[in-house]
């Protein structure tokens, strides 16, 4: 049965690119520090302290605003969201709010995210992260007291809220990939750090009530949570049960959305403007400054790769899909300018090694740099490309070489030299090897007579038997000749 689904997103992105917190001089890097070792009177909410707005965070939020096509107001302000909670040192959160005029840094934007689809951005705003609650016995329900760590309190966040413009979870995934690419390119957030990007979602089907889903801890989980919730709603409507408008929590352990724990009295945040933070005037000079100084956006970079280096749209897209990849590409070009050749090596061969290694690591659930564990840098690829361009080695050999140097870090030209020195082009030795292979792989030999490509398989076997020392060109010729003979 066809249903229309409307999904909206609320993304929280820590500005890990800023060195200090949003309203105080404490380091914004709280990970791995002893509890309550990264606090000061301001972020701990001591009496008499005043918030001091961090200039860099405004700059970063403005860059995100521009990247998402939003408009700037003339001035921005901060509001207090008043509620009590043990992770909130002041028992209010400093955030931005648009009910009585625009105070948040960006409104009314639009982002194209792939396949000609786009989503409207309702607003972009700055706000502070609360502290962290830890449960002594491991769970909220059984701990007789809670443990509070304020290290994270006051860390700067940018919140991005979209209109409910997504029709399915695939679109959501594409959009989140695009967002990740943008914030990485802008250098405002390292998305690989645990907890640096979170995403809440809301979903309704067939014009029914909207359900908010909170407590989704990573982009990867958004799809799972949404799929579960959509199924839940579809099941209900198919049984003619009305879906209630509510907030549900994503339970990561059991992979379900749950009703909110308590039937609370109605919360009332009593928003009012923070008197200790002056209105910050933006204006056209500010906007120009941001435009000029911000790093290149992924889409712009893609255009440049296509026009300047003649890369195809597909290859350019793969490169900018991950900033590290695109950076690697341009670093390689600086050493040896052969864009198409190098792009190819990166996108095809290097990427497959990376994918392989990432699959191994999926269980660890940790994200590393793309190239972690691989001993290859731009200089290796540049060297490799040059060897191929100058016809010093053939492509097959080059692939072999890449496979080896990834583990050893040796320069391709050095390895090629060694291989060449120990190359077997003594025809009689090769003939023996070919003979052995033909005997062992009789089925393959039959196939090869019908399908010429299978000769490569036989070549592979010859290379194996000769421990890689056979000259592949010569060996292949011998194989092909032999196939024709028998």
């Amino acid at each position: 049965m066809a249903t229309t689904t409307k999904i909206g997103l609320e993304i929280h992105c820590q500005l890990t690119g800023a060195k200090s917190k949003l309203f105080c001089r404490c380091s914004s890097d709280y990970r791995g520090k002893a509890p309550n070792a990264n606090i000061c009177p301001i972020c701990a909410g001591l009496p008499g302290t005043l918030p001091l707005l961090n200039q860099k965070t405004v700059e970063f939020a403005a860059m995100i605003t521009l990247a998402l096509g939003c408009k700037f107001p003339d001035e921005i302000a901060f509001y207090r969201k008043n509620y009590f909670y043990p992770d909130l040192p002041k028992n209010f959160q400093l955030t931005q709010y648009n009910a009585y005029g625009i105070t948040s840094i960006g409104v009314d934007g639009r982002l194209e995210y792939g396949n000609g689809k786009d989503a409207r951005i309702r607003r972009v705003q700055l706000e502070e992260d609360p502290g962290r609650l830890v449960y002594a016995s491991g769970s909220m329900d059984t701990s007789v007291y809670v443990l509070i760590d304020y290290n994270r309190a006051g860390v700067p966040l940018v919140e991005i809220v979209t209109e409910p413009d997504f029709a399915d979870t695939k679109d959501v995934r594409m959009f989140l990939d695009k967002i990740t690419s943008i914030i990485e390119h802008l250098g405002v957030c390292d998305t690989k750090l645990e907890g640096s990007v979170r995403c809440d979602a809301n979903v309704s089907i067939d014009g029914g009530n909207k359900v908010e889903i909170k407590n989704i801890s990573s982009f990867a989980d958004v799809e799972k949570a949404l799929r579960y919730e959509i199924t839940r709603q579809r099941t209900m409507t198919s049984r003619e049960i009305q879906v209630r408008s509510e907030t549900r929590h994503w339970d990561d352990a059991r992979k379900v959305t749950k009703e909110s724990r308590t039937k609370e009295e109605e919360q009332d945040y009593r928003y009012f403007p923070e008197p200790d933070i002056p209105l910050v005037m933006l204006g056209s000079e500010f906007v120009s400054f941001i435009k000029q100084s911000m790093p290149e956006l992924p889409d712009t970079r893609k255009e440049r790769f296509m026009s300047k280096y003649g890369l195809s749209a597909h290859i350019a897209q793969v490169l900018i899909g991950n900033k590290e990849l695109a950076d690697f590409f341009e670093s390689t070009l600086m050493i040896y300018l052969s864009p198409k050749e190098i792009a190819n090596w990166i996108v095809t061969d290097l990427m497959s090694f990376i994918d392989e290694r990432q699959k191994e690591e999926e269980e660890e659930e940790e994200e590393h740099s793309l190239f972690a564990g691989l001993k290859v840098g731009p200089e290796h690829i540049a060297d490799l490309a040059r060897l191929v361009d100058q016809d010093m080695i053939n492509r097959a050999t080059a692939k072999q070489i890449l496979g080896q140097i990834i583990r050893t870090g040796e320069m391709p030209s050095a390895l090629a030299k060694r291989m060449h020195a120990s190359r077997i082009d003594d025809v009689s030795v090769l003939a023996q090897a070919v003979q052995s292979v033909f005997q062992m792989e009789q089925a393959a030999v039959q196939d090869a007579r019908r399908n010429a490509n299978v000769a490569n398989f036989l070549l592979g076997k010859v290379m194996k038997i000769t421990k890689g020392k056979a000259d592949p060109k010569v060996a292949l010729e011998m194989i092909q000749k032999k196939l024709k003979e028998d």
Binding site: P47, L50, L53, F84, N91
Partner: protein, 480 residues
């Protein structure tokens, strides 16, 4: 004359010229405090050892011929809602019973750098919310002129300690009149600076868009000396202005134009308004031109003040959940909502009332009706005052509409208590500076003259204050 009666300026001079030592001075003060404190109750905490230690170190400096600051040796009391590192800061509340700040307020740093000696923390209404210092858990501060009467508030301890000769000067805070009211009731000088002139970093917030730290002294000269030390931009308070550090002086000016706000004088007790008309005469005799003026939006001022102040207070006081600091109450055994509610039941009545009123006016549906309208009144008042300041240099009136009343008289009627602020809240709502100078006595009780000026026009305001003070010669000390 005993040296504890000296003004700040005379103390600095005396110590510098070795007429007496700082140690002598501070010791005498502590003797005085011991004698009169049982009657006045101006202090929450005394800082005797450290005070004497600093005095001795200053004496050594003087002996060694080293440079000493502009307030060297001056004994100050500090309202107990201003953070002093290492010294208990309680805001006269159970909620901060054992709180010792980890940092000094900016004004404290500046005063210490200028050589001042802090001899104790002064009593106040809990969290600065009140007009009589009766809402303190340390008992009310009594008026040195008549100890059965209130000293005013919320900086009652500041004004009383200065009037009772327990210190040379004091720092208070003024949100709706809390420096000027007790100054008026105790016959001393109290000043509220322009909003943004003095850093609030370290001032425990009650209503942050309205309040300023202000000096209290026995003379205009003393108040000016302190203002010169504490005023000026602070990077730790983004609401302070960026202009270069101001310096104020005592100067003679003729031909100043004075507006007498009729809504204030007409609304005051006859004894009070009589003194104010007399003050206006005195000014005219000194070459000023006095005229009656009207400030029509005054009728909304109190409603506006109590809306904004309680709204901000309800949020500023939310942090007192007793988790990070406060008093000793073990969290184990409680669910967090109950712990918070139980701990916070230790606020006094007036604090609780203001938290509830403030939450009410901010709550869903009421924001436009109260909070936004209250801000509109601020704009209205500001426009009216600015129009007047085009024609007049200063605006005057009584600081308080009544004489100091008996302790306990208004304590059971919150609204009746609020009404005494009618003359003082205007300056906080508009952010403009205001000063109270002793105008004389009616029925033996002090009356204060309030002088207001335009934003950052402190010098003009001080000119009139100084002129009046020299002509009226009101100052004398109560018998204690």
């Amino acid at each position: 004359m005993p040296i504890y009666t000296l003004e700040a300026g005379q103390v600095v001079q005396g110590i510098k010229s070795k007429e007496f030592s700082a140690e002598e001075y501070i010791s005498q003060l502590f003797e005085r405090i011991e004698k009169v404190e049982p009657k006045v109750n101006a202090f929450v905490t005394l800082n005797k050892e450290e005070g004497l230690d600093r005095a001795r170190r200053l004496d050594k400096k003087i002996r060694d011929g080293e440079q000493s600051g502009p307030l060297a040796g001056v004994a100050l009391s500090i309202k107990d809602n201003i953070c002093t590192k290492g010294m208990k800061t309680t805001c006269s509340s159970k909620m901060l019973e054992s709180y010792i700040p980890a940092y000094d307020a900016t004004v404290i740093k500046r005063l210490m750098a200028a050589g001042a000696i802090i001899i104790g923390k002064a009593n106040l209404d809990e969290f600065a919310m009140g007009s009589t210092t009766e809402f303190s858990r340390h008992g009310p501060t009594r008026n040195p002129w008549d100890i059965s009467r209130v000293s005013g508030g919320s900086s009652g301890g500041s004004a009383a300690s200065v009037a009772a000769l327990e210190c040379a000067s004091s720092l208070g805070s003024d949100t709706g009149g809390s420096v000027r009211c007790p100054a008026s009731f105790c016959s001393v000088v109290g000043l509220k600076p322009t909003y943004g002139l003095v850093s609030r970093f370290g001032l425990v917030s009650y209503a942050n868009s309205l309040e300023q730290i202000g000096p209290v002294g026995r003379t205009v000269s003393d108040v000016v000396s302190i203002l010169n030390v504490i005023a000026g931009f602070d990077e730790n308070d983004h609401t302070t202005t960026n202009s270069s550090k101001p310096t104020y002086s005592l100067q003679e000016r003729k031909g100043l134009r004075v507006g007498l706000i009729k809504e204030f004088t007409e609304g005051a007790d006859p004894g009070v308004s009589k003194m104010i008309y007399k003050a206006a005469e005195t000014l005219e005799n000194q070459g000023c031109k006095c005229e009656e003026v009207s400030l029509p939006s005054v009728q909304y001022a109190l409603a506006s003040y109590y809306t904004i102040a309680t709204a901000e207070a309800s949020s500023n006081l939310a942090r007192y959940d007793n988790i990070r600091y406060g008093f000793d109450m073990n969290p184990e055994g409680y669910e967090w909502n109950s712990y918070f509610a139980r701990a916070r039941s230790n606020f006094g009545d007036e604090a609780k009332r203001r938290i509830i009123v403030g939450s009410y006016v901010l709550s869903s549906g009421y924001y436009g009706k109260y909070y936004l309208k209250a801000h509109q009144v601020r704009s209205l008042l500001k426009r009216e005052m600015e129009t007047l300041f085009k024609k007049y240099d200063v605006l005057i009136g009584p600081t308080m509409p009544i004489l100091p009343f008996k302790i306990g008289e208004r304590i059971d009627d919150p609204l009746k208590m609020y009404l005494v602020d009618i003359d003082t809240v205007v300056a906080n709502l508009t952010g403009m500076p205001a000063i109270s100078v002793p105008a004389g006595f009616a029925d033996g009780l002090p009356v204060g003259l309030q002088i207001m000026a335009d934003q950052f026009a402190e010098q003009t305001m001080l000119d009139v204050a100084y002129l009046f003070e020299q002509a009226a010669k009101v100052q004398r000390s109560p018998e204690l």
